[in-house]
Symmetry: C2
């Protein structure tokens, strides 16, 4: 491309920033950048301000590590939630999906990562010490592991169980021996169809079958 046909430097900078976002390739970045140049300036600046404000106001909750403006977050300070049960999820989006279902009334712990040796995410990145600390809180009776039902999620779950067992060994005074560690059930997804399930889901459904009545 001749240099005279190059795009303005500030547009190139914007394109590069957009391309660093997940799922945004060069074509999407170009579409987004030109959209941001075409819409009313106030609308474009509203996005810039929203990014800046969110980064300034939102920090991880010191208890559950979910992004929040208050610490502890509204969910951790909600006295109507069951504080004896802590669900460990991979991401804040998993937390939101579970909250949207409206059936869970316990607390959370957000890992913010999942074991993935291929991507260089090891046990250190999981912050297992913080989870052990959270599990040691006197009102916690059960830690339920809600990692995703896939390869990395299963590996992460194994690491979580090991870490919780190890911390039980270190702290002999605390009744962590009585801590229940559970995992969300696996089986056929309600609303799905058996003919579309993979072999693993069907195997899970057999292994976890329960007496009806």
């Amino acid at each position: 491309m001749p240099s005279s046909g190059a795009q303005p430097e500030s547009l190139e900078t914007l394109l590069a920033a957009l391309e660093r976002l997940p799922g945004i390739g060069p074509r999407s970045a170009s579409r987004l950048a030109h959209h941001l140049l075409r819409i009313p300036e106030s609308d474009a600046l509203a996005l810039a301000d929203a990014i800046r404000t969110a980064r300034a106001r939102i920090k991880p909750c010191s208890l559950c590590r979910a992004p929040a403006e208050a610490d502890p977050c509204p969910l951790c300070s909600d006295t109507t939630r069951d504080r004896s049960l802590v669900l460990v999820v991979e991401t804040p989006r998993d937390l939101q999906a579970i909250e949207a279902a409206g059936i869970y009334r316990g607390c959370y712990f957000v890992l913010g990562a999942r074991l993935s040796p291929l991507e260089g995410v090891d046990e250190q990145a999981l912050g297992l010490g913080a989870l052990a600390q959270r599990a040691l809180a006197p009102d916690v009776v059960e830690v339920c592991i809600g990692t995703n039902p896939d390869l990395e999620g299963d590996g992460t779950a194994l690491a979580l169980v090991a870490a919780l067992q190890a911390c039980r060994g270190e702290d002999t005074e605390h009744p962590l021996g009585a801590l229940r560690v559970t995992r969300l059930a696996r089986g056929l997804p309600t609303g799905g169809q058996i003919e579309h399930q993979n072999a693993s889901a069907i195997a899970d459904a057999f292994e976890g079958r329960r007496p009806s009545v």
Copy 2:
């Protein structure tokens, strides 16, 4: 969802701003927002700054209307470009695609829109007066219409031709009667396969067939 599980207000604002972008639905917005919260703060603010800087520095070139930091833009001020030929394109992205091909050495005029009655885009939005003005420049010999080879692009091309003819009628002193108005060729796309072409492209290829020496 219980109110205690709602997301922070500044996160909701960010999600709303992201969802207004083209091709970004609620799920993509959520993925992008949590990504922007998770990455180093400086990287997130770099995007906010890039949007702000691009909006502050980039304006449409007064000659070709392409987004540029200088006016006229580097392309319009490039004395090595052929100023007798003006290619009319729909968007700055079309301009970039043609520049990337590296074979066109004339100038441009960016419509910034295409006729689309269903979306409420009428002839007024095309800024045909500005195009007529551009075509009246004494050094312009040919205006080539490079709208997209589809329904809206064809409709837009018809409106452009009509506008150029009307302005020729108004200005009797200027030799706009000698202005050539052309359109980019239609036919089989090099590198494509005939079996994958639609009937319109094949019809275009027959209609535009040329003696092979």
